[in-house]
Every structure is written in C-alpha cells, then in structure tokens.
Symmetry: C2
Subunit: 519 residues, 2 copies
C-alpha cells in the first residue's frame, strides 16, 4: 500500500500512518519518541565462503549484481560523494532494466541532476520508488505524483538511523570508490576521482546483505586508509571511471559577492560575537553556500583579533576551512563531505582533518552524536514560519526540489542561525506556515535577514544578551510584516490532498508530508 | 550446567556438548562449519537519553558500574592492551565484591599475572568463571578444577566472532583508555599510559549493552584518533592511573642471543628464501619472541640484498618492525598490538603504521580477514604432534598456562612455520599426540627444529621446492625419533576425565578440552 490513513502529528501536520506498506510513527516532538527493539542484525557469514587469497575482483558490475542475487523488489543503495559527477548509480539500473528486473527501491544518500536518466526507469517500473533526496527533475517527477511508491526523505543522520534500526533493509549496496584494493578496502581521499571520504556509505557497508565496491583505481593491498572495510565487502569491480572529477566539486565554493548576502554574513557573525557565542575553544558548522563561507571568514577574523582558536570546525570542508586549519585558527576539521579539492588534499595529508560519518556526527539513535555540541550552526532554508519552523525541501510553489542533507541533524547544535533573505522573487520567506516542515521551530534560534534579526522567544538568554545591541533585533512577526508590506500576502501553493513523499525526522517519525501538485 | 555429555570431534578429541549451560558445536574441520542466523543486535538507544552537551563523565568507576546496572550473573569485559600493567580490571571486581554482586563472568581479551588478585573472587563466588585466556596462576587455578564454571578460551578473532555472533553477550564493557574525551572517544596511542591501540576492545564497544571508558588523560573533544568511538560509550570515568607504562611493554622484545634459537631463526629465514616465499611485495607476521624477532631481521636482510620491499609486515609491532618501516623495507605495518614504545610512537606518527582490530585481521565470520593473505607466518608452540597439530595453551604436564592470542587466526596465512626446539627440559616437543590441540595440522606447514626441518606432507609444493636444499629436511617422524633417542619416550600428563576448560576454534566450535589435573 502506497500510503494509508492520515493523522495529525504533534506539529499539526497531516502525515500518513503507512508508507510503502510500512507502519509509521507520526512526529511526537523533539526527543519525545523512544525507540524500542534491537538494531538490524545482518546474517552471519563465514570466511570459508570468500576467496582464501582475499581477491574479490569480478569481471564487471553486471557480474557482481548477478552474484549478489539482484531480483525484483530489492532495495539498492548508493552514496553521493561524487555529487553531480557520479557515473555508477545510473549503470546499476541500466543493468537491472536490461535484465528485466522490476520494482526496485533506490536508496541513495542523495540524488543529483546527473541521475535524471533514472526517470525512464521510474516510468517503466524498473524503479518503484526512491528513498532519499529527490532533487531537481526527480523532485518534480515526485511532486507530479507519477512515482509508483511514496518518496521518503531522510537526513544524513536519519538515513544511518533507518538502516541501523532496520527500517530500511539494503539488499545490495554499491559503493563507488576512488581507490580500493582487491579485498574491498576503499578510500575516497585519493585516486583520479578523489572525493574525500566515503562516510555516507558506512551504514550500507555495515548493514547491507551484499556489498559491491566499484573503483577505477585498484591498488595493492592494503588500501590505506580503509574508510570502507573490505571485511564488509562481497565483491570488487574495476571500471574505467567512477566519477567526473570536475563535477565532484560543489558548485558553491566561493564567498558571496552579493551586497545583501554579505550583509547577512556580517550581521550573523556580529550577532554571534555580541551574544558571546564565540570564544577560545568554540566550534561551528557552516555549509558550502556563499553566505555561510563568508561567515566562516568573519569568524576567523574574530578569532584572530582575540588570539583565540576554535576547538573544531565542522565541514563540508573547503579551501577556507583548510586555510583556517593550516593557519592554526582551528585545531580540527571534523568533515562529513569535502566540497573542493583543497578539502580532499587536506584530508589526505593532515591528521587533524578528520574523516567522519553520519554515525559519529548525526545518528540520533546512538549514545549521543557530536552535532549536539557544536556551538554555532549556520544553515539555510527555503521558508521559515512565525513559529520558527523551517523548510528546506520544497519551494513556495510546493515543488519538491531539495534533499535534507545534514540540515535536521545540525539543528541540534547549541545555537542555530538561519541567514535568509526576507524575500525571493517577491515571495516572502517568512510565512504563517511553511509549505513543508523540515525542522521544528524549537530547534531554530535566530533568523537573520537583511531587514532585521529575529530571536526565537524560547532563547531568553540570547534576547537578554542582545539588549542594547546596535543590530536591528526584531520579532519574527515584524519581519514578516515588513516582507508582506513589500510583496503582499503570499499565495498558498496549489496542492492536492494526495501524499507523494514524506519527510522523516531524525528519530524515524514523520514530521511532514509532500503533496501532489494541483494540475 | 557446567558441562554435559562428551562427544568426539573431527580430530577425535572428546569435547563437551554443553558448556556453562550453552549448547556447543564440536569442531568439524577447517572451513566445514557454516554459521546460521544473524549477528547480535544491541538495543536501539536514543540520544535523548544521553547528555545533550556530550559530557558523560561520572564521579568514579563504582558510580559508572551502578549506573550501568551491575548485578548478579552479568558478563563484564575488559581488554589487555596494558598487558601486565593493567590497573582497572581488578578494580571492577573489587567494587562488585564490595557491592555483594555474585556469579559474574569475566570476559577479558587476555589475562596476565597482574590479575592474580582475582583468584579470591573466583573462590568467593564474585566471579563464576572466566571466558578468555587464563595465564599463569589463573591457569593453574582452572587446571586444578576449582573454577565454578568452565573456562572458555578463544583466539583474538574468535573473541570478536563470539561477540558478533551473540555467543557471548557483554552486559558491561569497561575500556581502559590512555586518552579520552568527555564524550567517550578514546585512543591508546598517546597519554601517560600509552599502549598503542585499543583494537581488542572494538567488539566490546560495538556490542555491549553498556560501555564505560576509563581514562587518566581526559582531553578536550575531539579525542583524535577515536580508536573507540564515543557514540558507542555510555559513561566516562577519570582515574589517577589506568596502567603502569613500564609493564605495558612486552617482556620479550630483544632478538635472541641463544645459539640454538639463532639457528632456528637462520634456518627459518633460509627455508623461506629457498622455497621462494620471499619476493618483492611479500608479507609476513612474526611475533614478539626473541626467535621471531631474529627472523624478521633476517627477512629484512634478504629484502635489502634483493632490492625488494615488503607489502606489509603484520605486528605486534616493535622497534625492529618500526625500523623496517622507516627504512622503507616495508610499506605498511598492520598492527594488532604494540609491543614496545617505539611501536606506540610509530603508530602515533606514521600514517603507514596502521591500527587494526580483530575484526579486520582475524574475524572468521566476516567476508574474509586479512590474516588469510599473509605470505609467511612465524609462530611458536608448546607441543607439536606427528600430524602437525600444535598446542599453545597447555604444557606437557597438562597445566593450562597460556592464552591463544591471535595464534589460531594467523594459521590461515599462506605458509605457517613453527620454529621450535626439539625438546625443552628433556621433554620432547614433537609427540604422538599433543596435550591440547589448539591448531589443526592441516594449517601448519613447516616445523623448524635445531636438528632438522619437517614439511607437512600436504605441502607437496614446498617439498618439491626444497629438493636438493642444503637444509636438513626430514620427516616429522624422523625428528620425533631423534628427540626420543635423546630424551626417551615422553610420559603422558596425569589428567582426570573432568573438563575444566574448552578451546574454541575460530568459528566457535570446540577443538579441544582442557582436563582437570590428577592430584
């Protein structure tokens, strides 16, 4: 069953009680849902069934998929460290289609525009549905209601949680690797298609029934570092090219030149300094967008001025963070994905540029996760509402266009700041209600816009500290009113009452639903 | 039930069908037993139940044990990276005894003479039995039949396998760590009691219900490297001293000066060279004993002479291996435990000195393990029989005195060589039947003694290659006869028919039984 009966969760959002045949728990509030039961338990295997000489290399991906038992209805996973330069995910489904295999579930850690050739397999039934981010044309396809199953979007941490908890059982994981050895040890930090790390594939390697490593750079054993451990790998496949290096680098790795965005960056940094959030040994996470990068540069200036040093900077790494590390303004980079080649180089060369995974940084169903104790987190959003709830997955026209990434997970940092423009294309960003709640307002502390800064009323400490600041501190209602004075009251997106995808919270509950667009 | 009905396994050894109430599988031959079922599945936890600021530090070990729910009948684990300098394991049971807790199972990765204070807890019922190596006085206690439960000896790989497969459920793991942070990330490669790595505690951290990290060197988050990941840790305890550094270093880290042992080393190395086992890119494992160290030195000379380089050397690391790495005669050290402070330093400083674990190197119930593709393995034995079966746990008087360590696991290397003296204290080492089979003869390829070298008849390739060698190649029967001509036919040990401990094979089956000594 694609979905069943809708109920209202604790945020008042209508969510299905069954998704793709699996019973669901509606979101209950942050930290309210307590899991029961035990982690997923993969079958016990014996080394007696693997090559005694350690050589697991097969002739090709098709051979490996056949030996892994590829058949109708399986769940096939892949990772997105190659971003828009991935050359492997599409091949899996080309082979499946050629073999006549149907109703597969694709479980990527994220999808990109390079995966739009998969639309034909969603149409012809090779792929039943996608659980993972549905960006760009895959998102539009989902929003139009054409996907056979429901889309399921999870954060990076939520993906680890879902696999660990057995909510998603991966039949075959295909792990594209820039470098690997015959045993299946693999690393992302070197090789012609070096992408830094392979942390998004960790859960897959640990819990999938069958694990295939695909590489274009086979090195003698041992492949060091072994970011993915061969002891979890069934087969190794060598191909000509696993990724297009120039497309692996993220598009947004330059600091912003837009005066409006520079203002957001400056105010965000000034806010953090005045509120006393920056100190010797502080920590922060900023994404790869131009505004976030600029904030990182401001932070470094504040550290320099005070003779301070960050305990750690949390990446997505890029050349600005690497400079910060190499100049001694942060002791460590704890990196979840490298956004440029300087990040890759630094991870390869510097002990203090640390390869992390969604397990260490984001898994809510672990004994803690380190995103919880990051001091300052800078994030984006497509929409924010007057209760500080925010949206990152749909646009104001209701179209699903983005994945969650680590966004939900990083909300658990000590102070979360969203620098956002007050309006985009004359659509206000601050609304009565966001189209899709991706993160609950109780975890979002500060909204910085070019017309003023709103502090979440829950953060009485910050409100107190910012009294008398020269920064334009306003209520979120005031900011909303200013936007509406310019743009008018925004129209609601035209949606049907048919769910097409759900947004999972970090604990596996459903925080919101994505609805089919009206014709 | 301590044990039940005895049956003969495939080697003809009598083994119990039940041990400490758990049904057992008799050894069926190498690679013959196929496991069924799924891996152990720890309970799913929620970060909501752990400190939001990441700080898991409690006031002391007692507090941590109480918060971990210590109670009668639990299984408590510890690791042996501090070797005879461990200061923590005894404290656990001091606290348990003080609390009146009874019938605990101690599940160390190995025990040492420093743990002899635990004898009183075996006597008063605080500890029911030990599953782990029982060396020295703990071994004698076991052999005398005084332990309430049966001893269960496992190899390092077998210990990982048993935990992973759910044969041993650890209630509380106590992981002593030379350095850790408040979240429980921990490393062994630095700190006042630096011991190198913590790989023996990996399974414990992954599968135990509760995990306590004990350190005497609390550093700011993040503790890098995080050999043990805080995401698996419940509590952190800070003590004055976790280990005595001078006792952490293994006793036997000097090359031998004994002419007999030097001869064994020289012949072993010459054998390997003549048989063509040494080549550019070969790999080897030699232990920390004086003979093994000397063989490593000979191997390096052979590499130098030929302009070759080893692909990797497998440690127990020591200054000889470190020199080999630093001088470029091996590309990597894959290290399971550091035997001296040079090993610790090298692991801390050199990317190519790699921290491994029983999971990567030894776990038979994984998708392969790398000990399988080590070219040459040099090991010791207390006894060998004419079928090439060998014993490392008991002496010829039947007393249990040693653990298995990684010995069983390394037998899977391509060629296993045992350099042993033909007799010790006028007791022949080559017997009709060993006291306790720890490793089956089919995996043992060459016996090197000071009177000649015996090749396992299964290795027709080696026999062929050594035709015409100047080395004294003999049959094992000839070697036995020479020993008996000097020492006479050895007396059998005086044993009862009461089992006191079992020897697990790498797949969890029982390969042999240790019997209570006759009075």
């Amino acid at each position: 069953m694609k979905y069943d009966k809708l109920v209202r969760n604790s945020l008042g959002r209508l969510v299905p009680t069954v998704v793709n045949g699996v019973a669901q728990v509606p979101f209950m509030g942050v930290g309210k849902y307590r899991p029961t039961g035990h982690k997923a338990a993969p079958p016990i295997v014996s080394a007696a069934d693997f090559p005694a000489d350690g050589n697991k290399v097969l002739s090709g991906l098709k051979d490996a998929l056949i030996k892994s038992g590829l058949r109708d209805g399986m769940t096939i996973s892949s990772h997105h460290h190659f971003r828009n330069g991935d050359l492997i995910a599409n091949q899996i489904f080309d082979i499946a289609a050629e073999m006549g295999v149907k109703n597969l579930v694709w479980f990527p850690s994220a999808s990109f525009e390079c995966h739009s050739p998969l639309l034909k397999y969603l149409e012809d039934g090779t792929i039943h549905h996608i659980e993972g981010s549905m960006n760009g044309s895959l998102g539009r396809f989902t929003s139009s209601g054409k996907m056979q199953g429901m889309g399921v979007l999870r954060s990076h941490g939520g993906r680890y949680q879902a696999v660990q908890d057995g909510e998603v059982h991966i039949d075959i994981a295909v792990i594209a690797a820039p470098t690997a050895d015959f045993f299946g040890n693999a690393t992302g930090d070197r090789g012609p298609a070096a992408c830094g790390l392979l942390g998004f594939a960790l859960a897959d390697s640990q819990y999938a029934d069958k694990v295939i490593v695909v590489t274009d750079n086979l090195v003698p054993f041992p492949c060091i570092p072994w970011q993915i451990q061969g002891n979890n790998v069934d087969h190794v496949v060598v191909v000509d090219k696993v990724g297009i290096p120039e497309k692996i680098v993220s598009g947004t790795t330059e600091i912003t030149r837009s005066p409006d965005r520079l203002l957001l960056a400056e105010w965000s940094a000034q806010f953090c300094e005045e509120a006393g959030l920056i100190h010797d040994g502080f920590s922060f996470q900023a994404g790869a967008g131009g505004t976030a990068l600029s904030i990182g540069v401001y932070f470094t200036e504040i550290l320099k001025r005070n003779g301070w040093k960050a305990a750690f900077a949390r990446g997505g790494s890029n050349r600005y963070l690497v400079e910060m590390l190499e100049e001694g303004y942060t002791k460590f980079i704890l990196d979840g994905q490298t956004f440029d080649l300087e990040g890759v180089r630094s991870m390869r060369e510097n002990w203090n540029h640390v390869n992390t995974s969604p397990f260490t940084s984001y898994n809510y169903h672990g004994k803690g996760f380190f995103a919880q104790f990051v001091d300052i987190v800078i994030l984006g959003a497509t929409e924010v509402d007057v209760n500080f709830n925010a949206n990152v997955v749909t646009h104001s026209d209701g179209v699903l266009l983005h994945g969650i990434g680590g966004w939900q997970n990083t909300l658990f940092g000590k102070t979360t700041i969203l620098p956002v423009p007050l309006f985009r294309d004359r659509m206000p960003v601050i609304l009565d209600e966001v189209t899709t709640i991706t993160g609950p307002g109780e975890l979002i502390d500060v909204i910085v816009t070019e017309r003023g800064i709103a502090i979440n009323p829950l953060r009485t400490d910050l409100i107190e500290k910012m009294k008398g600041s020269s920064l334009p501190i306003k209520t979120i209602q005031e900011l909303q009113a200013e936007a509406e004075a310019i743009c008018g009251k925004p129209a609601k997106p035209k949606l049907t009452d048919e769910p097409v995808a759900v947004i999972k919270w970090v604990d596996g509950t459903i925080i919101d639903t994505v609805w089919k667009l009206a014709e």
